[in-house]
Symmetry: C2
Subunit: 335 residues, 2 copies
């Protein structure tokens, strides 16, 4: 059973285990500073498919299959797949898992989707509804550019606050037991809307929600930032991460000794990604390819993964609506 502690935090009495994880990324992501951590760096941005949308679903499908293989679990041994992406009606994820013949729960949390899937998946396992589950998320630069902004050939300019949608996918297999790496706590995020209307500045739209979730997590668990080896948000990128540090510092909390943002980590400074990476696949790949590997190998013991999403659509932006941020978090510990 899960227990509610404090105002918002869920503590798992039998912390669900992360049996294995996998990450598959595109060429640009493979050339970044984390390139060597990813399981597969595809030189073919089409992933052998005839459209960008099918490319994204193929990437996510392969990532889930690889995570299951590493976990020693058949796909048919999963009680459900929890997955989402940025494509309209989340078709990247539904097309990815339609052939798995496994119960499917579609999620939409924008770039917080991986954290949402891990949080909900862990709660379902801890509560006995599900024994083994895969959480997955993906994004593809080309499918996202087409849908949100312009045809690639248009060559539209991007301001420095803009983020680069990662071609990346991450998946993690969760189970009742079987690994020292476990999800011990979760916080479901509240939306926070501070009135940001600029879709090229999503870091600023999301930072207040990350601040809200992290402050509740610290308070509910009676912990401070340095009780964790790493605190990772994803994906605030450089602009949003700076803002989060400032917001927390205003409230007397200094996360800088242990803080990184997945969007800031994915690309090198010479990679022309502006403020940094974004897209559901960015934090999914950084967590599943890099961070969970560090935990499996014992170099990290206690981590917060706080996934941040910008809840908007091209239509809502065109209609002048502001962008609500949301941040779902999990605490992952190596026991």
């Amino acid at each position: 059973m899960a227990k509610r502690i404090g105002k918002r935090t869920i503590r798992f009495d039998k912390p669900p285990a992360i049996l294995a994880s996998a990450a598959i990324v595109g060429e640009k992501e493979g050339q970044g500073p984390l390139g060597t951590f990813f399981d597969v760096v595809s030189q073919d941005s089409h992933f052998g498919q005839k459209s960008w949308e099918l490319a994204e679903s193929e990437m996510q499908k392969k990532t889930i299959a690889l995570a299951a293989e590493k976990a020693g679990v058949q796909l048919s041994g999963l009680d459900c797949i929890l997955a989402g992406d940025l494509l309209n009606q989340c078709v990247g994820s539904s097309m990815a898992s339609v052939e798995a013949h496994v119960p499917f729960l579609g999620l939409y949390g924008a770039c917080s989707t991986m954290a949402q899937g891990m949080a909900v998946g862990a709660a379902l396992i801890d509560g006995g509804a599900v024994r083994k589950a895969a959480a997955a998320a993906s994004s593809h630069f080309c499918s996202a550019e087409r849908q949100y902004r312009f045809p690639l050939a248009y060559g539209g300019q991007r301001p420095p606050t803009a983020q680069w949608t990662a071609t990346a996918s991450g998946a993690a297999v969760l189970a009742e037991s079987g690994s020292k790496v476990q999800i011990t706590h979760a916080v479901f995020g509240e939306m926070v809307d501070m009135g940001v209307k600029d879709a090229n500045n999503m870091g600023s739209a999301m930072a207040p929600s990350a601040c809200d979730t992290l402050e509740h997590l610290f308070e509910d668990t009676g912990t401070k930032p340095t009780d964790y080896d790493r605190i990772l948000t994803g994906d605030l990128a450089n602009v949003g991460a700076d803002l989060l540090v400032t917001l927390l510092r205003d409230d007397g909390i200094d996360i800088t000794p242990v803080y990184s943002d997945c969007g800031s980590m994915l690309y090198g400074e010479d990679q022309d990604a502006h403020a940094g990476g974004s897209g559901c696949g960015c934090s999914a790949a950084v967590i599943c390819g890099h961070i969970l590997r560090e935990m499996e190998e014992g170099r990290l013991k206690k981590v917060i993964f706080a996934g941040t999403g910008a809840l908007m659509s091209p239509t809502s932006i065109q209609q002048g609506q502001s962008i609500a941020g949301i941040c779902h978090a999990v605490v992952i510990e190596r026991k």
Copy 2:
């Protein structure tokens, strides 16, 4: 704790209670045979807003607020809202709940979203992760027409197999206890893709998944159709419902004595809705406005609500992809 029984069914040992529910619909839905059951029939399809998308979110927001009011629960007393809709990036739901200041889990299950929210919400409550939650879903004819098909002014023709997207929203407040009406079982659906590529025949695309989920539910629980007072799918509409009856009959199961489809129930034959209603709000409003009221008042004791979704997007259809169906189910009993 939840227990897995059989291959796919989740049985809740402490069945979560449905404290209250509410449904708000548009004018056309109010003129249908169920019109008197809905809490509010709005004569203003704009719901006082300046765009169809804002109209939909306003309708969902009011529905959640009304369900909470009927349950005697402050919005701030909810541990989370689980909600989804058909709009790109699910903005109908995020805009509806941004001011609630309550943790938010965005779901995407197309027309199965209400059932998915009730199933996941019940599992989270039963497992202790959440104490009180609202599950909600909505759709709006005008926002859906613009997004999926044509500007309304175009006046495009529709074939007889097409369904009419309901302007409707339903919400239910779930809690650990407090009502005789309880969710006793849930089944998370698997996607079933039989190759249907016609977005104007979604009933046929979804019926096989409803067949799959219902057959597992009967087998896992050792029950037969007549053990239930009503079995409701939503929204297969007339074409899909006929197909479901045939598919189940081929496997020796006759649901006809107790079977209805929410999409077939919502509109009268004279209302020009073609095969019947659809949209996340259709089954949400029929269940939350009509069926749960019948249960509260004791006229129905044991019901299956099997929400069906067609997992596709305009892009996937344009690219020639087939439509996967999915069906999430809950068993609701009056103890």
